[in-house]
Amino acid sequence: MNSDKITKYFLFAGSLLILVVAGGMVFSLVGGAIPAFHKFGWHFIVSSDWNPTEGRENYGALPFIAGTLITSVLALLISIPMAFSTSLFVAEYFRKTPVASVLSSLVDLLAGIPSIVYGLWGFYTLRPFIMHLGLSPQGFGVFTSGIILAIMIIPYATSLSNEIITMVPNELKEAAYSLGATRLEVIFNVIVPNARSGIVASYILAFGRALGETMAVTMLIGNDNKIPHSLFDTGNTMASVIANQFGEADGLKLSSLIAIGLLLFIITALVNTAGKFIIKRLS
């Protein structure tokens, strides 16, 4: 046997293992979720009633789906201006200067902070601030979670778009400058169109990360199993309700939690597919 073949088999086995694990996860999620879907059918997705009281059991995932999507979209909306300006700062305005490298490593550092630390900071610093501003009486809720999520996903949104923006050919920019374009015109007519698909891809990656975030959100969203009525209302997310309630769950409740896990999996998969589709169309 030659080393080429061994390497090939080794790699094949490795990638096959990942496929098996992923397939196994889907299989067990679907298997676990069947009783809930069998009992509630479509109502599981469109019902907003989550009642674990014995004898009145009824489970609907809509409050959690809404909570997850609202907090994640909010996080994305808040993070985009910051992420976009950071990318331009690092990859264009202060490109290859010490300031830019310090800033970009600081942003990367954000990605390394554990989720629980964000949660603590949100609980003891951001929440009192929001209460102080009078935005919400108890400081918990969708808005607080959205801000924390936005900070958490900035590194995911910037790291890739920095690379892409740096990769825009210098010749193009120089050509634009020689035609008398201002810096702003170069950014919006040369850099952004060239880097568009990469930037969108990095924001979608960041959005996917926000969808599944658990710990920090659990600490800040208020764990209130209803659809939030306003940005400052409390709510709950899919990941957070699972984290809160899986410990004691059995029977129909456990199946409903697994079904929520399956839905979260599907939503994340859809977001990633949509992202890939957008990238393909734009490039």
């Binding site: 674990p52 009281t53 014995e54 199993n225 004691e248």
Partner: protein, 357 residues
């Protein structure tokens, strides 16, 4: 290529040796060390259990780890047979007990009060009657300066501040005691919310465990919630005086909890003592239980393990252990309950033979 194969072989052989020797070491260690017990559940009784188990370790060398998971998760762990016993402030209903893989017994270990704790700057004490309490937790009273609150608290200057209700987000025996009481005093609560370890809450936000609720209340101005007495005491959170069934406003003291627990006790100890008619009783009081399997020989557990489990629980009924509870604001068991508990413990068997003589 040969080199790589040889290298691989050497590495495999080396790791095999290493893991082999490790296993051996672990086996020796476990043979030498004392028996250790594991349990999980109630955060309400957590401070009592943690302190008592530590004292028991100092006296006997038997280590007991107790996970503060909440009663719901504790029962789940017992069901999965991953713990020796669980702590719960909600007893298993006949239907729930039937779902367990084998018969279980309940041993009451102490009783405690569920405090209605609140955080309004400048206000140390508030009186609540059943109607106002129900209205707050049903979301009908939303401001601290509500006329109903003012009416029963003459002289207290309430601020114009929103009430933020805090409840449990996980399955909880504390919630069970609280909702049991609420169902007794409010028809609307009984019809719309009901009794359970986790509920469909009409209002408020959830926090995990008694520590989580206590932390949220103490860091949220305007908050109100229900927590075990020791948590309010330890974190210096103000608590409300509640109007009991006899019409008196009572603080959650040990004496008031004992007064509530002096009623009749069934032979299996499964009873709720909320809304007691005794004149000095604190209305949201409840026993907390240790739940274990009646037949201790399962999953290859040794007789020594079963004996250690039973001895620990038996010791928890001793005056010495009950005194630890008292220091932590739990009411000691009345003598008749201790006798019932001891009788129950004697019915616990290993391969059909009673463990305690």
């Amino acid at each position: 290529m040969k080199k790589i194969i040889i290298l691989l072989a050497v590495v495999t052989a080396f790791t095999a040796c290493k893991s082999g020797s490790k296993k051996k070491g672990a086996a020796e260690k476990s043979a030498k060390s004392e028996i250790s017990l594991s349990a999980a559940g109630s955060t309400f009784a957590g401070p009592f259990y943690k302190t008592a188990f530590k004292k028991y370790f100092d006296q006997t060398g038997v280590q007991t780890s107790y996970g503060l998971t909440g009663s719901g998760a504790g029962i789940r762990s017992l069901k999965d047979r991953v713990v020796d016993f669980c702590g719960s402030d909600a007893f298993l209903s006949d239907a729930e007990a039937a779902k367990m893989p084998a018969p279980v017994v309940h041993v009451a270990t102490c009783s405690g009060a569920v405090d209605i704790a609140f955080n309004v700057p400048g206000i140390e004490s508030v009186k609540l009657d059943p109607e106002v309490l129900a209205d707050i937790f049903l979301g009908k009273i939303t401001k601290w300066n509500d006329a109903k609150l003012k009416a029963i608290n003459p002289g207290v200057k309430f601020p114009d501040m929103a009430i933020s209700v805090v409840h449990r987000s996980d399955g909880s025996g504390t919630t069970f005691i609280f909702s049991d009481y609420m169902s007794k005093i409010s028809k609307e609560w009984k019809d719309n919310v009901g009794v359970g370890k986790s509920l469909n809450w009409p209002t408020g936000m959830g926090a995990k465990g008694n520590p989580g609720v206590a932390g949220t209340i103490s860091s949220t101005v305007g908050a109100i919630g229900y927590i075990g007495s020791d948590y309010a005491f330890a974190q210096k959170i103000s608590f409300a005086l509640l109007k009991n069934a006899a019409g008196n406003y009572v603080a959650p003291t040990i004496a008031a909890v004992s007064a509530a627990g002096n009623g009749d006790m069934p032979a299996d100890t499964r009873i709720m003592e909320t809304n007691s008619t005794a004149p000095d009783a604190y209305p949201i009081s409840g026993f907390t239980w240790i739940i274990l399997y009646k037949e201790q020989a399962y999953n290859g557990r040794s007789l020594a393990q079963a004996e250690a489990t039973l001895k620990l629980i038996d010791w928890m009924l001793d005056p010495a252990a009950q005194a630890i509870g008292k220091e932590l604001k739990y009411a000691p068991l009345p003598e008749k309950v201790v006798q019932i508990d001891k009788a129950i413990l004697r019915t616990v068997t290993y391969n059909g033979k009673p463990i305690l003589k």
